[in-house]
């Protein structure tokens, strides 16, 4: 069994590109990844592709073969859908395909076109990741769902909107040098606290933007990388996925994300590492409170302790464990089906020293990517390590 090496990655600018089709966005990312890998496209043997709302945003299903065609590949191509964790789930399929010896070169990616349909329709499309009968029909939106979780967290463990504001400030600051980021704008705690409310206690700066974009990576075996003299020092050494009841109302806790606990435990066990070994993390901060859930589920903090991490400077770029050096979903943007692979690319670039924030982790050898779908009813965690 060979842990897949990340031979190359490509990410489009994340932002508002309402007139660019999904296939055009994915072609940019996919071709960039193939070029960066230096792999003959004829050697690619499969594509796993994440996308969530293509039917609603572009009236386009069956996107697997469409996207393979867009990057010039004639390979079996499968779309993977797990809401906002679609690309994370696609990575797992790619990892398994390489590990079980079915293929030596696999392309994994994702794309989402969202801004072309406007905020209201995008809000509606995102809402269908919740339970239609029992949540959407009760007026649930995604900010609303995370607001319910945030209020429950505050009631159970403490914490405040100001703590959340520090997470937004941190991630905006991290994104300032990331040319892929949708928002490159510094904000203050006061800016965040004074922003309009979307679903109390969450305001505009607690939420990620609506984003168009794509990401892709080329995975290969250690043997193929050696044979072709590829520069691919980072391997995916652990993969995990967890699930939970779809509807919040059916879960024992509103202030914990056990699907992420399970995914993290599985990925750590798979890699043979633990939370103390991790040097850097990209986590799914679709809302500021989501970053708190993520860093607690990943074992970096005890329950109720993660809320203070950004405020105390522990997860900032000069802290002990930088989180979301890309700017996270909060500032980098969140083209839903692309996010998991963009996180993978970011961690790989941070570990190989090519990311503009790599100076925050100069000796980093272990990174994790946490990608959550819905209100964390689906979660994937991947561990990446620099190999000798």
């Amino acid at each position: 069994m060979s842990d897949p090496r990340i031979a190359g990655a490509g990410v489009t600018h994340f932002g508002e590109h309402p007139e660019r089709t999904g296939r055009d966005l994915f072609a940019e990312a996919g071709l960039e990844a193939l070029s960066a890998a230096g792999i003959d496209p004829e050697d690619a043997e499969a594509l796993y592709y994440g996308n969530f709302m293509g039917e609603l945003a572009e009236h386009q299903g069956h996107q697997g073969p469409l996207m393979a065609e867009a990057i010039g590949l004639d390979v079996p191509a499968t779309r993977v859908e797990a809401a906002c964790a679609s690309a994370g789930a696609a990575i797992r399929e790619a990892v398994k395909t390489i590990r079980n010896g079915e293929a030596e070169v696999v392309v994994v990616g994702g794309a989402e076109r969202m801004t072309n349909i406007g905020t209201a329709a995008a809000t509606d499309a995102l809402a269908i990741a919740a339970d239609d009968l029992y949540e959407v029909r009760a007026g649930m939106t995604f900010p609303g769902a995370y607001a319910l979780m945030a209020r429950s967290y505050f009631a159970q463990y403490g914490g405040s909107r100001e703590d959340l504001a520090h997470i937004a400030v941190k991630n905006h600051e991290h994104a300032l040098v990331n040319e892929h980021a949708q928002i490159q704008k510094e904000i203050t705690v006061e800016d965040a606290l004074e922003a309009p409310t979307i679903a109390d206690p969450l305001g505009l700066y607690d939420s990620c933007p609506i984003t168009d974009g794509a990401a892709a990576a080329v995975l290969t075996t250690e043997a193929y990388a050696a044979e072709h003299d590829l520069d691919a020092p980072v391997a995916i050494t652990g993969t995990g996925q967890g699930g939970d009841n779809l509807a919040l109302q059916d879960r024992p806790h509103l202030a914990q994300t056990p699907a992420a606990d399970k995914a993290a435990e599985e990925a750590y066990d798979d890699a043979g590492v633990g939370p103390d070994d991790v040097d850097v993390a990209e986590v799914h901060d679709c809302f500021t409170i989501a970053e708190v859930f993520a860093i607690e589920s990943l074992g970096f903090y005890e329950r109720g302790e993660g809320i203070a991490a950004a405020r105390d400077g522990e997860t900032t770029r000069d802290g002990d464990l930088p989180v979301n050096l890309s700017g996270g979903l909060k500032a980098k943007g969140h083209p839903v089906g692309a996010t998991g692979v963009a996180q993978l690319a970011t961690v790989a670039w941070l570990l190989d020293g090519s990311h503009p924030r790599a100076d925050a982790v100069p000796d980093g050898t272990v990174g994790v990517a946490h990608n959550a779908g819905g209100t964390v009813a689906s979660t994937t965690v991947h561990v990446m390590e620099v190999q000798e």
């Binding site: 329709a121 809000t123 029992y134 029909r137 007026g139 109302q249």
Partner: protein
């Protein structure tokens, strides 16, 4: 399926709330669920029976939503809450109370109302 088809046991459940005979489904180990449900996902029991919903429950969490989906455009701002009825929790709209006054542990009863925007039925909580 026609445009007017009902959503099976979900609409039947709303009917039961409207007639004052609301129920939930319970497995032999006491886990509660809302219909439609054919198996308890916690313990795999398939022998689910209808049990009367309590008259009231307590708000577990709530939010006032100001940026809605199009189906709730004219409802906004509105309060959505998860209410704990013991073995089962229900998500719905909180009505007949100032949004600023809604609080965790408030006691509410279950009802069926209408969405302002579309006129469609919706689960509604009112203070008890």
């Amino acid at each position: 399926m026609t445009e007017s088809a009902r959503d099976g046991e979900y609409d039947e459940w709303l009917d039961s709330i409207e007639s004052g005979e609301g129920y939930y489904l319970e497995c032999p180990n006491g886990h509660g669920w809302l219909p439609p449900r054919q198996v308890c996902p916690r313990c795999h029991e398939r022998d689910l029976s209808r049990v009367d919903l309590p008259d009231s429950g307590e708000i577990a969490s709530h939010t006032t939503i100001t940026v809605p989906t199009p189906q709730f455009e004219d409802d906004a701002p509105y309060v959505t809450a998860i209410v704990d009825f013991g073995p089962v929790s229900v998500t719905g709209l909180v009505r007949d109370v100032d949004p600023d006054e809604v609080a965790i542990d408030d006691v509410v009863g279950l009802d069926v109302g209408e969405r302002v925007t579309t006129g469609e039925r919706a689960v509604v909580f009112r203070p008890r």
